[in-house]
Amino acid sequence: MKRIFVLVLFLIFYNHLYALCEYAVKENQSYFELKGNWNFFKGSGMIAADPNLDISSWKSINVPFKWFQVKELNNYKGEIWIRCNIVFNFVPEELYLDLGFVKEIDEVYWNGIRVGGTGNFENRIPDFSERRIYSIPPVLLKENNVLAIRIYGSFWNAGISDIPKLRFNSLFLNEKNKFEMLALAFSLTYILSSTFFIFFGIYTQEKKSNFYFALFSIFLALYHMILWGLRYKFFNNYIVSYIAELLLLFPLPFLFLSFIKEWLKIEKILLYDFIKWFTIFLMILTPIGYFVPVVYRTMYLHIITYVNLINITISLFVIIKTFLTYRKEKYKELKYLYYGFLILIPFLLNDMLVALDIIHTPRMFVFSYPVFLLVMAINLSERTLQLKSQALKQVEDLRIIEKQKLQVIYNISNEFQSIFDELKQNILLRKNYHSALIRLNYLIESAQILNLLENKKYFVQPVKINITEETLKIIDDVLKATKQKKSRIEINLPKNVANVWMDIQLYRMILYHLLENALLYTVDEVELTISVEDQTLKLRVYDKGPGIPIELQDKIFDKYVRGNHSKIPGSGIGLTIVKECVMLLSGTIHFESKQNFYTLFEIIIRELKEIA
C-alpha cells in the first residue's frame, strides 16, 4: 500500500522533480522542437546562465507553459530561469532559436553568453507582441550546449506560449516576413481607400456614415501596422506602443456599429449607448495603464484587453441582431453588406481567440477586411445606380413641383383677381357688390387660418354658439357668395339643441367651404344635415352632382388640387382647410363619391366643452 502511495505521489510530482533536460539534435532536419521538461529555477541571479552551474536542486517544468499552469508560479511576480542541454552530432552552418511568443520579458543565454533578449529587465518594460527569434552565432556552438532562458512575468498569463524550436536555416523568416509585409500592404490599402469615404463625407450630406467608415478603416489599418512590424518604428517604448494599439483597437466595434446605424439610417440601435459609454470608459482607462505600478501594469493592460473582448462580443451580437431586424426593411442597403460581414466573423473570432491565448494561429482579420471593402465597392456601385435613377426621378418631380408652384400663384392670383374685377365692375355699374365682398372676406380669413394652422399657431377658442343661428348665417353667406338660390339647399337642423361649445371660426370655415364646393360644382340640390347627439356634432353635406373623378379622390384634401373647373375661380385650399380644421378639433372626416351619382362629406366633432 505504501509503495502504491509513493508511486502515486511520484507520478503527481514527477514533473516537478529534478531530471536533467537534454536534447540530442540530429542532422538533416530544418528545425528541432524543444518540447517537454526543462530544468526550472524560480528566482533571479545571473549565475543561472553559467553552463557549469550545479542545477540538481532545480525542478522540472513542461515547456511550453503559462504561469497559471505551474503551481510554484501562481500569483508570482518575478523572474524564473529555465534551461536545457542540447547535444549536436553535427556542426550547424546556421542556427536560430525560435521561441515564439513569450510573456513578458526574456533573455537567452547560449553556453553562458547572452545571444538576445526582448523587453527590459531593468525597468521591467515587457513586450508580449514580438515573436522571439534569436540568431545563435556558430562560434558559440559546441557538441554539448547549455541553453538558459531568463523570463520575467507578473501575470497569470506569463510564460512561453509556443514550442521553442531550433531552426537550421533562415527560410522560416520568409514566412514571417511575408505575413508581415502583406498585412502592412493591406493596411496601407485601407488607409488609401478610406480617402474615398472622407471625400464623400466632406462633400455630401451623408457625413456621418462616411466618416465612421473612414475612421474605422484608418484605425484598423494603424492598429495592424503597429501589430505587424511597425511598432518600434513608431514608438520607442513598448508600453506606450501597446497603449496606442489598444486606443486604436477599442473604438473599432463602436465605429463599425455607428457606421451601420448611419448607413441604415436607424434612429435607435439596441445597446448602442451602452457600447458607446463602454468604449469611452475603456479608452479613459487605457492611458492610465502607463501610470500603474510596474508589477501590476501587465495585469491591468491585459484585463482591459479582455474586457474589450466582451465589448466586441456584445457589439457583434448587436450588429447581427440589427442585420436580422432590418434585413427586409433595409434590404437594398443590407443586400451585400450582410454577406460581407458574415465573411468577417470567423476571422474576427480567430483573432479574439488568439488574443485570449487559446489558439496560436496568425491573426487573420487584416486579410479578410479587403473582402468587406469589395462588398462596399459593390454596394457603392449599387448606390450610384440608385442615385442616377433618383436624379432622373427628381427632375420629373421638380418639374411637377414647379408646375404646382405656378398653380399656387395662379390659383391665388385668379381668385383675388376675379373678386377685384367683380367689385370694380359692379361698383362702376352700380350693381350689388356684396357677393364679392363676402368672397373677399372669406378668402382673407381662409388664408389667415391656413397659415396659422400649418404653422401650428392657431389656438382653439371654444365659445357657446347657437348652432342653428350660426349655421343659417353661414348658409346665407355661401348663398350670397356663390349667387345661388336658397332653394338649392335642403337644410336639416337640430330642433331642440340650442347652444353648443364650438370654435366659431373653425366651424365657419368647415361649413362654408363644404357648402361652397357643393354649390359651385353641382347644379342639383344640396342636402345639409346637422345633428347634435351625445355632445357630438354631426355634419353631413350630400349632393347628387357629377361626383369626384376616381383619380382625384385620393388628392381632394391636398392643397391647390382642383378638378377640371378652371372656369370657376377658386384658390384650391377649401377642402385642405376643412381637413385641417377637423383635425384640430380632433374630429373625423368621412368622404365618399361616386362619379355621376353623388358626393358625401360626413364630419363628426366632439363638443368642445369637454375638450376645453
Binding site: P137, Q205, I378, S413, Y433, N451
Partner: protein
C-alpha cells in the same frame, strides 16, 4: 487633409528607405580571371574604384561581356549576414571567401538576396567577389545599392522591397473591381469598363513585379515579360476611357489599339527569349504613350475652351504631369535604370486621378440630389411666404375696403367715391401682383434660363429710354451670361423705384473691372434729409411702410440674389444715397470675352420693347400664359 496625405507619403517614403549599411565603394576590373579575382588575400593589383549603384553600359566595352566587382571587409563572426543586390539587370555570380554562393537572378530588374554562410566567415580579411555578365543591350548594371545586413534584417528588407508593388496591386485591383461593378450596372457607360481594365492591368503589371512572387513561381521570365508587356496596353484603355468620358470621337481610330497589341505580343515573345528586346520595345511604348498624351491633352484643351471645370483642370494636371515624367524617363532611359516610373509613389497618386474623376462624378451626383431635395420644400415655402405677405400687406386695406363698402349700397356711392374706390382696388391689385412676383422670386434658386448678351449693347438699349443720367464704362467685348428678363427687370425696377420719385437727381455709372465684375453705381440726390433718411431706412428694412415700398425693394434684392450679385447701400453727406450692386460677368467659368456670339441688337430692342409692353400685363395673366404654354 494635408497632414493625412503627408502621413501616407511618409509611410511610403519610409518603406522605400534602404538601410544605410550600404557597401558603396567597390573595386572593379574587366579582366575575367576568376582564380585571381576571388582570391582571399589583400588585393595587390591596381583595380579601379566604383560606387554602387551603377549602370555598367558606360564601363563595359562592346568587346567584353564580363566584369568583376570585389570588396574586402571584416565581419563580426557572432552574427549571420546576408548580402542584398538591389535591381540587378544582368547575371551575377557571387563568391564569398573563394566559394561560389549564388548565381542569379532568374529574371531582369530583380533584387537578389545572398546569405553569407557563417562557416565561411574568417577572422580578419573576408572577400566578396561578384562576376557580372553582360546580358542586355541596354541598362546593364546594379541599379540599387548593395547592402550587407544581419540575415534577419536583410530578409525583412528584401520582403519590404515588395511592399509598394503589393500595395499598388491590391489598391488598383480594388479600384478596377469597383469600376467594373459600376460598368455592370451602367452598361451603356462603357468608359467605366475601359477605366476598370486600365486599373486591372495596372494592378496585374504591378503584381508581376513582385520579386518574391516571381522567385517562387515557375516560368518567372514569362511573367516578367508579361509585366513588361502589360503597360503597353495601358494607353489603349486610357485613351478609350478619355475619349468616351469627354465624349470626343477618337481621331486616331484604331491606331492605338493596333500598335499597342502588336507591341504587346512582340514584347512578350521577345521578352521570353531575351529581355533586352523587351526593353527596346518598351521604348516604343513610351512613344505610344506620348502620342496618346498629346491626343488626350488635345481633347482636354478642346474641353477647356468650352468650359473651365474642375474635371477638365484635374485631367489636364494629370496628363501634363504624366507627360513630363514619361518624357523625362524617355530622354534619361530611367525606365530601365531604376524602378519603373509607373510604380513611383507620385505617379501612383497621379494615376488615381481618372478614378478620382469618376468618384467626383458620383459625389457631384449626390450633391446635386441633396441640393434638389431642398427645392422640394420650396412649394410649402412659397405658399407660406405668399400668405404671409398677403396678410401683412393686404389684410388691413382689404378689411378697410370691405368695411367701407359693406356699410353702403351701390346706389349711394357718389362718382368721386366710386373713382376713389376703383383707384384703391387697382392699387391693391398692383400690390398683389408684386407680392406674387416676390414670392415667386424667393423660391427661385437660379435664373430659369440664360442668355449671353454683350453688356455694353444691352445697357445702352435699356438705359436709352430712361430719364436718369447714365454713364457706361465697360469693356465693349464683355459678355454676360444671365437671365435677360431678370437683369432687365432689375434695372427698370431700380430706375422706376417709387421711393426715388421725390429725388432731385439720379446718376447711374456702370463700370467693369479686370475680373469682369460689372458695377452698377447709383447716386441719388435729395436735399430733404428726412426723406432721404426714411427711404434709406426702408431700404435697410429698418422701417415699415404702408405704401408697399418694402415689397418693391425686396423684389430688387431677391433679383440681385438670384443673379448672384452683391448689394451695397450708403448715405453720403446727408444728401446722397449711394446704391451699388455688382454682377459677375464670368458666370460659372463659361464665358469668354471674345469669340462669343452676342444677341443681335435688333432682338435686344425687341425684347426690351416687348418687356415694356408686358409691364402693363398683370402677373396672373403672365402666369396663365406660361401655364398654358407648359401644359401645351
Amino acid at each position: 487633409m494635408k497632414k493625412y496625405i503627408y502621413f501616407i507619403m511618409l509611410l511610403v517614403i519610409f518603406f522605400n528607405k534602404i538601410s544605410s549599411e550600404d557597401l558603396k565603394d567597390w573595386k572593379i576590373t574587366l579582366k575575367d580571371d576568376k582564380s585571381q579575382n576571388i582570391k582571399l588575400e589583400k588585393l595587390e593589383a591596381n583595380w579601379s574604384e566604383i560606387q554602387i549603384p551603377v549602370n555598367f553600359d558606360e564601363i563595359i566595352s562592346t568587346k567584353s561581356k564580363v566584369l568583376w566587382l570585389r570588396k574586402e571587409f571584416q565581419i563580426d563572426k557572432n552574427h549571420s549576414y546576408s548580402l542584398i543586390l538591389y535591381r540587378v539587370n544582368g547575371q551575377v555570380e557571387v563568391y564569398f571567401n573563394e566559394k561560389l554562393i549564388k548565381i542569379g537572378p532568374s529574371f531582369p530588374q530583380s533584387t537578389v538576396i545572398v546569405p553569407l554562410p557563417m562557416n565561411l566567415y574568417q577572422d580578419g580579411l573576408n572577400v566578396l567577389a561578384i562576376k557580372f555578365y553582360y546580358k542586355s543591350f541596354v541598362a546593364n548594371g546594379i541599379h540599387g545599392p548593395i547592402v550587407l545586413l544581419p540575415t534577419y534584417k536583410a530578409i525583412e528588407n528584401y520582403y519590404y522591397e515588395n511592399f509598394k508593388s503589393i500595395t499598388n496591386s491590391v489598391f488598383f485591383l480594388g479600384i478596377g473591381f469597383f469600376l467594373f461593378s459600376l460598368f455592370l450596372r451602367f452598361k451603356d457607360q462603357t468608359y467605366y469598363f475601359y477605366l476598370a481594365l486600365f486599373y486591372i492591368l495596372l494592378a496585374s503589371s504591378s503584381f508581376l513585379t513582385i520579386n518574391i512572387i516571381l522567385e517562387e513561381i515557375p516560368l518567372s521570365r514569362i511573367f516578367y515579360s508579361l509585366s513588361m508587356g502589360i503597360p503597353i496596353l495601358l494607353p489603349v484603355f486610357f485613351l478609350r476611357f478619355f475619349s468616351l468620358y469627354f465624349n470626343r470621337l477618337i481621331l486616331l481610330k484604331n491606331f492605338d489599339l493596333y500598335l499597342s497589341f502588336l507591341l504587346f505580343f512582340i514584347t512578350i515573345i521577345s521578352g521570353f527569349f531575351n529581355p533586352a528586346f523587351a526593353q527596346i520595345f518598351n521604348l516604343l511604348w513610351i512613344l505610344v504613350f506620348m502620342i496618346v498624351f498629346v491626343y488626350a491633352i488635345y481633347i482636354i484643351l478642346l474641353n477647356l475652351m468650352e468650359r473651365i471645370s474642375f474635371r477638365n483642370i484635374l485631367s489636364l494636371v494629370f496628363l501634363v504631369y504624366l507627360f513630363f515624367v514619361s518624357f523625362n524617363s524617355l530622354i534619361n532611359w530611367n525606365y530601365f535604370k531604376e524602378e519603373r516610373f509607373l510604380y513611383h509613389f507620385d505617379i501612383m497618386i497621379v494615376l488615381l486621378i481618372p478614378a478620382f474623376l469618376i468618384i467626383w462624378e458620383i459625389i457631384e451626383l449626390q450633391k446635386d440630389i441633396e441640393k434638389k431635395e431642398g427645392q422640394f420644400q420650396s412649394f410649402d415655402v412659397l405658399q407660406t411666404k405668399l400668405f404671409t405677405y398677403i396678410l401683412t400687406a393686404l389684410k388691413i386695406p382689404l378689411k378697410e375696403l370691405i368695411d367701407a363698402l359693406s356699410k353702403s349700397q351701390p346706389a349711394d356711392l357718389t362718382p368721386n367715391q366710386t373713382k376713389s374706390i376703383v383707384f384703391n382696388i387697382e392699387d391693391l391689385e398692383k400690390n398683389l401682383n408684386d407680392i406674387l412676383e416676390l414670392s415667386r422670386l424667393e423660391v427661385l434658386e437660379e435664373p430659369e434660363s440664360y442668355v449671353e448678351i454683350n453688356v455694353k449693347d444691352f445697357l445702352e438699349a435699356v438705359l436709352s429710354k430712361s430719364n436718369i443720367s447714365s454713364t457706361i464704362h465697360v469693356d465693349p467685348q464683355l459678355m454676360l451670361k444671365t437671365s435677360l428678363e431678370l437683369v432687365n427687370s432689375l434695372l427698370i425696377r431700380l430706375i422706376d423705384f417709387p421711393g426715388f420719385g421725390s429725388f432731385q437727381h439720379i446718376d447711374l455709372v456702370i463700370l467693369s473691372d479686370d475680373e469682369d465684375n460689372i458695377y452698377f453705381k447709383f447716386f441719388l440726390y435729395n436735399k430733404n434729409e428726412k426723406v432721404l433718411k426714411r427711404i434709406y431706412n426702408i431700404l435697410r428694412e429698418k422701417l415699415p411702410d404702408q405704401e408697399g415700398l418694402w415689397i418693391q425693394w425686396k423684389i430688387i434684392k431677391e433679383t440681385i440674389r438670384i443673379l448672384g450679385g452683391k448689394l451695397k447701400l450708403k448715405l453720403y453727406s446727408k444728401k446722397y444715397l449711394y446704391i451699388e450692386f455688382i454682377l459677375k460677368a464670368k458666370e460659372s467659368g463659361s464665358i469668354t470675352k471674345k469669340k462669343q456670339k452676342s444677341i443681335p441688337l435688333v432682338y435686344l430692342y425687341y425684347l426690351e420693347e416687348h418687356q415694356k409692353k408686358e409691364k402693363n400685363v398683370t402677373i396672373w395673366q403672365k402666369i396663365k400664359d406660361l401655364l398654358q404654354k407648359r401644359i401645351a
